[in-house]
Amino acid sequence: MKETKTNPKIAIVSLTSCEGCQFVLLDLGEKFLSLMDQVEMVDFRLLEDEEDKGDPLDIGIVEGNPVTEDNVKTLKSLRDRSKVLIVLGNCAAMGGIPEVKNYQEGKGTIKHVYKYLQGITNPEIKEVDNFVEVDFTFPGCPITGEEFLYYFERIIETVKKGNLSGLPEIPDQPVCIQCRKLGNRCLLLDKKPCFGPMILGGCNAVCPTSRMVCQGCRGLRPKGNVEAMKQMFRKQEMMTDQEFEDTTEIYGLRDNISELESK
């Protein structure tokens, strides 16, 4: 890649999802609009009707789960045409809420919802990186707007310089760092089973600030100690092992933890 002066071409694409991560972007209001001045938006179907001609992109941004065959095609073609592929949010990064069905017995979840199953695609939920290579992930359910602005600026710079090895990384810090800075009383002191210590920070501790326990939507941090966490919950009777496992299902942590345990 060569250094360029023109604005990078980008597209924001969604697969099966609640689209909440895209709304976090729109909710940035004027900040989002001024960010749009720094890029050339090739495709963002929430805001425009124009035909996407399928031109090459500098940055492809994708949200949601690849559930239907069309979703998978859309994802693969976005990867093919993008120099950098960015993932938005917990569904794309970790499977999200739809992944809960993977853990349910007998794969019978669909039968609670539909009488006629014929013609309905119901695959096991797999994260985006099972289909394509991912260059950067904005974690969370939903993503954090301010964090997006911060790293996206750096990603644009990197793309302009033409050296992709300079892509930023989110530092390995627990949710607790920002939580303490905000002066919040630690939920663990009140015997509330908060996952903060083992989860990747950067969300401005938005949940604990609202007295909601962290349930891990941003994923395990590389140095997160799952076993210590579980033990503490058990010993201090905050949560049984079963409740811990159930909670890790909500944002698709459970399979990451099993993977760790099997290593």
């Binding site: 099966t16 909440g20 004027e30 805001l47 609670h112």
Partner: protein
């Protein structure tokens, strides 16, 4: 002749459109859903009741507040949990905030460009910078309410069974009061701008359904009524409105006892409840000069504008009440976990959202059902389009497509909700 639109942009979720016309007769007009299934109801079965609002609100990134409120109300009704007036007022405030930011998004960023012949909102904001600022200002007020009361705009955090985990500070409520007073004239200016937009003339008489409560423009509770004389308590909702799944379809449509498709959302609420609008909203509504009953679906856009004004007024009233009450009374109270069935309905921006839940003695969900607004009005939308199509037969394919997109978007469908 077939009319096909592969993908309708600028609405929540993924869908296309297909119509078949033979010798001038519209044989079928159908929204084609391209969303994958997420099975939210199935996922919740067997899980603890506390997971319900957390998971269910993730059905929708634009209206998570109303899924949060409705699921919590259904759980409270199932377990017989009583909440304080302060809790109810904070929840109503949340819902008005939700209505403001969802409507403002749809009005300005999703639908408006259709009537100005602009295809990209980034061009819209360049051409109308002042109006854009106003739309953002109004929308940010709705978002500020949800953020301050709910803790976050997309997927709020504080509301739970029995009350709130955390309540706003008095100074935050006061800040919202001054923001509200500033926003009301801005909303009206935006309203004047919207009045100048020329909307197509089309109407088809049908049934309009919404909640109703004596003495207030009902959004948070009440009975279910219609302009055709329906009046039932929410617990009889599923007796009157039945979900049915057609083979190959992943949206379960909803059939009314009256056998015909029905409409919900802003246009239905205004038709049924306009006499209960607040002063400023009522004045703005009257200035539109629309005669009720009004069956023109394009007017849904302006009725959303009326509701934005109504929401600013109502939220200000609630904020003033809250500023003079003991906010800590809204903090979650102890309650007993017990089994039972519960239902709840709340007016979402797009219409009545209904939840049913059956919980066991230990608090685990045995069964539940969620009926969303878009699933309810889908057949009405298709019936409307079938009636509208003959008027645009003579237009070029491109023009036809434009008109159809505008029509579908005026309904403000949310495909993510409809499939869930």
């Amino acid at each position: 002749m077939n009319i096909r639109i592969n993908h309708i942009n600028k609405m929540e979720g993924h869908a296309g459109f297909m119509a078949s016309v033979i010798k001038g007769d519209v044989k079928s007009a159908k929204l084609e859903v391209h969303e994958g299934i997420r099975l939210i109801e199935g996922i919740l079965i067997g899980r603890y009741y506390k997971d319900m609002p957390i998971i269910a609100q993730r059905i929708c990134g634009i209206c998570p507040v109303v899924h949060n409120l409705t699921s919590i109300k259904a759980v409270e009704n199932a377990m017989g949990v009583k909440v304080t007036n302060e809790t109810v007022n904070l929840r109503k405030l949340l819902e008005w905030g939700q209505i403001i930011h969802s409507h403002a998004l749809h009005l300005f960023f999703l639908s408006l460009a259709d009537f100005l012949d602009i295809e990209n909102d980034l061009n819209l904001v360049k051409k109308y910078p002042e109006e854009t600022k106003k739309a953002i200002k109004v929308r940010e007020y709705g978002m500020a309410i949800v953020k301050i009361v709910g803790g976050r705009v997309v997927h709020p955090l504080t509301n739970e069974t029995g009350g709130f985990k955390k309540v706003p500070k008095l100074e935050d409520i006061q800040k919202l009061i001054s923001q509200s007073e500033e926003v009301l004239p801005v909303a009206l200016e935006l309203g004047e701008f919207f009045k100048k937009i020329k909307l197509p003339d089309f109407s088809r008489e049908s049934e309009y359904v919404c909640l109703n409560k004596e003495g207030e423009y009902a959004i948070y509770d009440g009975d279910v009524i219609s302009n055709k004389g329906l009046h039932i308590p929410v617990k009889k909702f599923e007796q009157n409105f039945q979900e049915l799944q057609r083979p190959q379809e992943i949206i379960k449509r909803v059939k009314s006892d009256s056998e015909s498709s029905y409409m919900i959302g802003a246009i239905a609420r205004i038709n049924n409840q306009s006499r209960k609008l607040d002063t400023v909203a009522e004045k703005y509504f009257e200035s539109l000069g629309y005669k009720l009953p009004d069956y023109n679906p394009f007017h849904n856009i302006l009725y959303q504008m009326v509701e934005v004004v109504q929401a600013v007024e109502e939220s200000l009233k609630l904020l003033k009440i809250l500023a003079n009450s003991h906010l800590e009374n809204a903090l979650t109270r102890n309650y007993e976990i017990k089994g039972g069935e519960g239902v709840a309905a709340v007016e979402a921006p797009r219409g009545t959202l209904y939840y049913y839940v059956d919980i066991d003695d230990k608090g685990y969900i045995k069964n539940l059902n969620i009926i969303t607004p878009t699933a309810q009005f889908l057949s009405h939308l298709e019936d409307d389009i079938a009636a509208y199509l003959p008027r645009i037969f003579d237009l070029s394919d491109k023009e036809k497509e434009k008109k159809l997109r505008a029509f579908i978007r005026a309904y403000d469908p949310c495909i993510s909700c409809a499939v869930h």
